[in-house]
């Protein structure tokens, strides 16, 4: 009979992780080695995301040990991979590729994704398909001779498309079956000549997002993620991870939008009123509770994948950000009437904190829309967590091509 007991002490623990960090730092002095080289070495040492498998930037270790790695490396002055610039890659593309990708896809894509050498974007939403994402019309048709897929359609609200080297893309491959069944998931090369990216200016003045026109874009079958027609299921993994990525970041106390509000209260006594005091304290409590809730969900999923609880985090995060940033503008009084800069630019990354309260207030409006609106998240919680009846729908058993438009 085969021995089935795991080898004791095989799982890396904190001391093992520290040993590996020390080894990495000894071999690659962050003060001398160029940033990119250091990040690649860190990936190869399994210290990128320790819960990923060995050989793919991880050690198969508990997720919680990542904090140990990050702290040790930060203390040593090592460069990080600027996660704000590559949030879609880290938070959405990577876990989906890890779960559904072939060995070859994992080896090709995960390393440059993590080091930030390749930025990713998400080609999901379309002008006619937002909340009802499964209604999407972008078509992918297989070319008989080459086996390649030819993609035509339009995507919209695509954050970072202007920076991206790759995209996660969902497209319709079979219009003759009901909408959820005819979708396939692809990894799309943004340098393909058929990809055209145009900025979309947003409420804050600049253009974080874009519209993306896809005309005869050629995608080799090797860049299909998951089975043909299984794209909706694969996309669920992306969306669940997206919600956790948006709402579930580990923050220190006062780490989010409450930080600038609390700082303004401390540094600017002339702004204080008794009535605002209780509201600032309420906001502080709300922020702390959202932080604790996120921490609790992280502890719950330390072993498993994000469940519908992630939707709760994102809902809480959106509400908190909108509430706190609105209060901050109000606290600023006359200064709240000014707005830093409406210039149309295409930013490299989103930074909530480098700018004024007015920017935060406006940008936070997107938090309840991006990654699934708060209304859709409430539907998800009601149905999948509380088990309440699904919304009545007329489009479930109808072939996509026969749906009323």
């Amino acid at each position: 009979m085969a021995e089935s007991h795991p080898t004791p002490g095989k799982d890396p623990d904190a001391s093992e992780v520290r040993r590996r960090v020390a080894e990495l730092l000894a071999a690659y002095d962050p003060a001398r080695v160029p940033r990119e080289k250091f990040l690649r070495a860190r990936f190869d040492a399994g210290l990128a995301w320790v819960h990923f498998p060995e050989g793919l930037g991880g050690l198969g270790a508990p997720r919680a040990l990542q904090a140990v790695v990050d702290a040790e490396l930060a203390a040593a002055g090592a460069p990080d991979n600027d996660p704000r610039r590559i949030g879609i890659g880290l938070g959405m593309a990577a876990p989906t590729i890890l779960r559904y990708g072939t060995e070859e896809q994992k080896r090709r894509f995960l390393r440059p994704l993590w080091t930030g050498e390749e930025v990713w974007c998400q080609l999901f939403s379309e002008p006619g398909a937002g909340s009802d994402l499964a209604g999407l019309r972008t078509r992918a048709v297989r070319e008989p001779d080459s086996g390649d897929w030819i993609v035509d359609g339009q995507k919209v609200w695509t954050s970072s498309a202007h920076l991206a080297r790759w995209a996660i893309l969902i497209a319709r491959t079979d219009p003759d079956v009901p909408k959820h069944q005819g979708i396939t998931y692809f990894l799309c090369d943004m340098t393909d000549p058929g990809v055209e990216v145009r900025p979309l200016r947003q409420i804050t003045g600049e253009a974080e997002f874009n519209e993306v026109f896809l005309t005869g874009v050629r995608i080799p079958d090797a860049h299909r993620l998951g089975a043909i027609g299984d794209g909706w299921r694969v996309a669920q993994a992306t969306l669940m991870n997206e919600r956790v990525a948006i709402g579930g970041m580990a923050l220190p106390r006062e780490g989010g939008m409450i930080g600038p509000l609390a700082a303004a209260w401390r540094e600017r006594p002339e702004l204080r009123t008794p009535e605002l005091h209780d509201r600032v304290l309420s906001a502080w409590v709300a922020a702390e509770v959202v932080r604790l809730s996120a921490e609790r969900v992280r502890q719950q999923m330390a072993a498993g994948a994000p469940g519908p609880e992630g939707s709760g985090l994102k809902l809480a995060f959106a509400r908190l950000n909108q509430h706190v940033s609105g209060l901050e503008v109000e606290l600023m009084g006359e200064e709240g009437l000014r707005y830093g800069d409406w210039t149309m630019v295409r930013p490299e990354s989103v930074d909530f904190y480098g700018r004024d309260a007015g920017y935060r207030y406006l940008r936070a409006k997107g938090n309840s829309i991006e990654g699934g609106t708060s209304e859709i998240l409430r539907n998800i919680i009601a149905e999948r967590v509380l088990g309440l009846p699904a919304e009545p729908r007329t489009d479930k058993d109808v072939a996509w091509k026969d749906l009323p438009r």
């Binding site: 304290l281 209304e375 967590v385």
Partner: protein, 370 residues
């Protein structure tokens, strides 16, 4: 910081829940509230002595279980959910915490703790349930030079079930905590908003008392109030979770307009929001219990104020939603929802209101008043 439940805590929950399912069904709770026996003494004996809940917070060398606030919090979730008519909060949490703040090496203190832990006696701390941590030491009872107590304390929780009262009183040597036999005080139960946690006004007229040695009686009292406020958040989570579960259950089977009522989106969204509120309150309550167990006073105070500023409103909101979403049946005496509303609303006032806990946070987080 561990915000989850350990296996031991899960087992404890199961044990308590099993006993309550068996011994504390809604009809039994409802049947008792207007009787002369508002407490279920048989159930309390079972929980206190056989399950050892009375001694959870008491160290093993003093005859208790040597558990921590984390375990007591789990028990309170279950007791809150069932609105069980037992004096756990008043005796095993509030009075016991005050005694643990006294000199436990002293024979009197140790003996009393041992009796409480064994379930042989039940105690109450003679403070108004609405008293909050951070308040000045109470002055309504005074001790004379022979150590006899005179004065009155209103709205004392669980005094009606108590054999022993622990009484904060001003004495010749300053503030102190005194042990008084309940039989030597006048304990008058009055009709309280919360029907499942009886309150009494307690009067002392030269009542014989024993001073409980304590290095800092005021700190012992304040620590007990802080601990109890933090653990009350878990009771509030238990109440809120019951309200959410009952309401979801009801709306899944109630039909109107040819549909399950729980399928109407406006109600689905309200319940999703309520779920989120309960999940958040649970995280805050777990953080408070964990911080109290860890024992860092400043961190614990901060976590308790955050939990109380959150869970109080959550329980009230959950109970109010439960009543509204049950429709007419929610308004009846027969349906157990009103017992949770009454508990939730009383708990909002108990051990400091949300606004008071926010104000208490102000110096701790450096957000000074205007």
């Amino acid at each position: 910081m561990n915000l989850l439940y350990s296996d031991v805590e899960d087992d404890l929950r199961t044990a308590v829940r099993d006993v309550l399912a068996d011994r504390c069904p809604p009809e039994a709770v409802l049947g008792r509230i207007e009787s002369e026996l508002p407490y279920d003494t048989g159930l309390w004996k079972l929980l206190a002595a056989e399950l050892g809940l009375a001694g959870l917070l008491v160290p093993e060398h003093l005859g208790g279980q040597g558990a921590s606030a984390r375990e007591a919090a789990v028990v309170l979730e279950e007791l809150g959910s069932a609105v069980a008519p037992v004096p756990f909060l008043g005796s095993a949490v509030l009075a016991t915490s005050a005694l643990l703040g006294c000199d436990t090496a002293d024979g009197t203190v140790a003996a009393l703790l041992a009796r409480l832990a064994a379930g042989e006696a039940t105690a109450a701390l003679a403070v108004p349930l609405s008293g909050a941590p951070g308040a000045p030491f109470p002055g309504s009872v005074t001790a004379d030079s022979e150590g006899r107590l005179t004065g009155r304390v209103t709205s004392v929780a669980d005094a009606f079930a108590a054999d022993v009262l622990v009484v904060p009183a001003g004495g010749p040597q300053g503030p102190g905590l005194y042990e008084v036999a309940a039989a030597d005080a006048a304990v008058e139960r009055f009709s309280s908003l919360d029907l499942t946690r009886p309150l009494s006004d307690v009067t002392f007229e030269a009542a014989p008392a024993r001073l409980l040695p304590a290095a800092d009686p005021a700190a012992a009292l304040d620590g007990a109030l802080l601990t109890t406020a933090g653990l009350l958040a878990s009771e509030q989570v238990g109440v809120a979770q019951w309200c959410l579960d009952e309401t979801v259950g009801h709306l899944k089977q109630r039909h109107q307009f040819g549909r399950v009522v729980g399928g109407f989106q406006s109600l689905k969204h309200r319940l999703a929001d309520l779920w989120l509120e309960v999940v958040s309150a649970r995280a805050a309550a777990r953080a408070a219990a964990d911080a109290l167990a860890a024992g860092d006073h400043l961190e614990a105070a901060l976590a308790v104020h955050v939990a109380q500023a959150t869970a109080s409103s959550t329980a009230v909101h959950a109970a109010e939603e439960a009543i509204q979403l049950h429709g007419g049946i929610g308004m009846t005496w027969e349906h157990p929802a009103h017992l949770r509303l009454k508990r939730a609303k009383a708990d909002e006032l108990a051990l400091g209101t949300p606004a008071r806990h926010r104000a208490a946070l102000s110096p701790l987080v450096d957000l000074p008043p205007a």
